[in-house]
């Protein structure tokens, strides 16, 4: 139960809005952070907190692509496939990842480590091709960089190749 485990955080979220329903997206994010995806029971609990009906929560949750209503892998790889990235090789990138992990967009590896998604624009067109893995952006990708990122994630769960705070071009010289 989120209300027993995260009471202070929920109260803090609720205090930001004069109308309770505004807290819906933040609470759905909280549920997703705790369980990796949003369960039906979490949606019911959130409906109770916000004095909404479960369908009101469900209709909102299903509108937004970042809210997972099904489990995803530990690392959710989202590669931008919109035109700006496609011009500089995002289709090739998706192919590399697919071959390295043995999955197609929309699939999860058998060990539940990686889910691959091809997504629409993530607002990093100047540093394309790019992808987002969980909370982090990875930009100006090459096959070599991709190998290092996947190896880092397998070994330590994090990669120093993530980017940001963002500035491009950088004031002095270039980064990796």
């Amino acid at each position: 139960m989120l209300q027993t485990t995260h009471k202070a955080e929920i109260d803090d979220i609720l205090s930001r809005y004069p109308v309770r329903r505004s807290a819906l997206l933040p609470l759905l994010y909280l549920a997703q952070r705790e369980q990796g995806y949003i369960t039906e029971s979490a949606m019911q609990e959130i409906a109770g907190i916000l004095k909404l009906t479960p369908p009101q929560v469900y209709e909102t949750a299903t509108f937004y692509t970042m809210l997972n209503l099904k489990p995803v892998g530990r690392f959710h790889i989202q590669v931008c496939k919109s035109l700006m990235c496609a011009l500089v090789g995002s289709d090739t990138l998706i192919g590399w990842i697919g071959r390295k992990l043995g999955i197609k967009p929309g699939e999860t590896t058998a060990d539940k480590l990686f889910t691959l998604s091809a997504v629409e624009c993530l607002a990093a067109c100047g540093t394309a091709p790019m992808m987002q893995i969980n909370d982090d952006y990875y930009e100006r990708l090459t096959e070599d960089k991709l190998d290092r990122i996947l190896a880092d994630l397998r070994q330590t769960g994090a990669s120093a190749l993530k980017t940001g705070p963002f500035m491009w071009p950088e004031p002095n010289g270039t980064r990796q």
């Binding site: 930001r16 004069p18 109308v19 329903r21 505004s22 807290a23 819906l24 997206l25 933040p26 759905l28 994010y29 916000l50 209709e59 909102t60 509108f63 937004y64 692509t65 970042m66 809210l67 496939k81 919109s82 035109l83 700006m84 496609a86 011009l87 500089v88 629409e120 624009c121 993530l122 607002a123 990093a124 067109c125 100047g126 540093t127 394309a128 987002q132 909370d135 982090d136 952006y137 940001g164 705070p165 963002f166 500035m167 491009w168 071009p169 004031p171 002095n172």
Partner: protein, 435 residues
Amino acid sequence: MANYEPILLKNMLQPGYTGSLADYERAGGYQALRKVLGKVSPSDVTAVVMKSGLRGRGGAGFPTGVKWGFLPKDYQGPRYLCCNADESEPGTFKDRQLIERDPHQLIEGILIACYAIGAASAYIYIRGEFVLGAKILEQAIGEARAAGYVGKNILGSNSTIDVWVHRGAGAYICGEETALLESLEGKRGLPRVKPPFPATHGLYDKPTVVNNVETLANLPHIMTRGAEWFASIGSPPKSTGTRVFCVSGHVARPGNYEVPMGITFRELIYEQAGGMRSDKKLKAFIPGGASAPFLTPDHLDVKLDFESVAQAGSMLGSGGVTVMEEGTDMVWAALRLMEFFYHESCGKCSPCREGSSWLVQIMRRIVNKRGQMSDLETLTDLCKNIAGRTVCAFGDAEVSPIMSTLKHWRHEYVTLIHAAETANLIRPEPAGAKH
């Protein structure tokens, strides 16, 4: 290469600038707020912004001061400011940089806007994927609150302004201002029928202003250096100030370049962004994000200001300039953007919801060499029945890639269709477009 004085990127261009409160104050930050709060009347602040000629940097280019002026003068209840940080127009990546590298510049702009319109609460609606940007903003707001710039009785002026970060969750349409308000209210992000406009019936049905990140970031500079100074930059009287243009695609140095409005696309692409990435010549460019119709090399000497780009048959939009080299398949390019719009249509209006599906199916058929000549008429007919027939501007936006590529590169469509005819490959696609 001409050097222009950066305004919005000035701080972050300094070596070692971290965007912390201390760094921002050292660079003169929060002086504009001190100068304004309780010393200049809110209506005078609005008058300065009006006089500066500042126009919205999100896409529509509506004059900011005029927008503020629409709020009812005599309304006693709460008013709201929403900062549109949803940055989701393909080709645009400037707000991310303004947020992550100089968050206090934006916060100071938000505070000035709140003071001018009488809002005690501001919500920064930031796209869900910008997790780092949201963290940086939360941290910066915390610093500002501790220093007395945000919260109750700001700088002893009796003004109370709170600023909150609210994360979106991956819907392009939430960059449309009324969809943003719906989303902020915890609902599906469906644009509202206008009128009434947000100025009278916005967030929670209260008077509300929605301004873009870059628009708000300009305010401290306008209040410090004056309306006349700002109005003298760029392409006065209608396109004043600088723009942070986002250059992407086949150029040597893609990235964000802040230049005065009114320089030419040729200068932006060939001088600032270093020209083409290879020997291949420029074939096409999109001047203002995915919603803006494609332009050709004949338009390289068009000026980057609102009126000139509109005259050339496109729009300056969000400032996202995407460059394509010789060899780029324009039908494929239009399809890629069409797939984006199909995926992002919110589904409220039938012409857009159904039309985008049909457009994607026909475009895929043509690209896959299964098209027929009558498809071109069907495409045009569909586009004409979508544009202008929807609640928001999405309908106009989604048809622009197809309409403009049909206008400038019709022969590429015809070539693909001829290939289909000669190969006798014409056969119906299975019904229903897949995402």
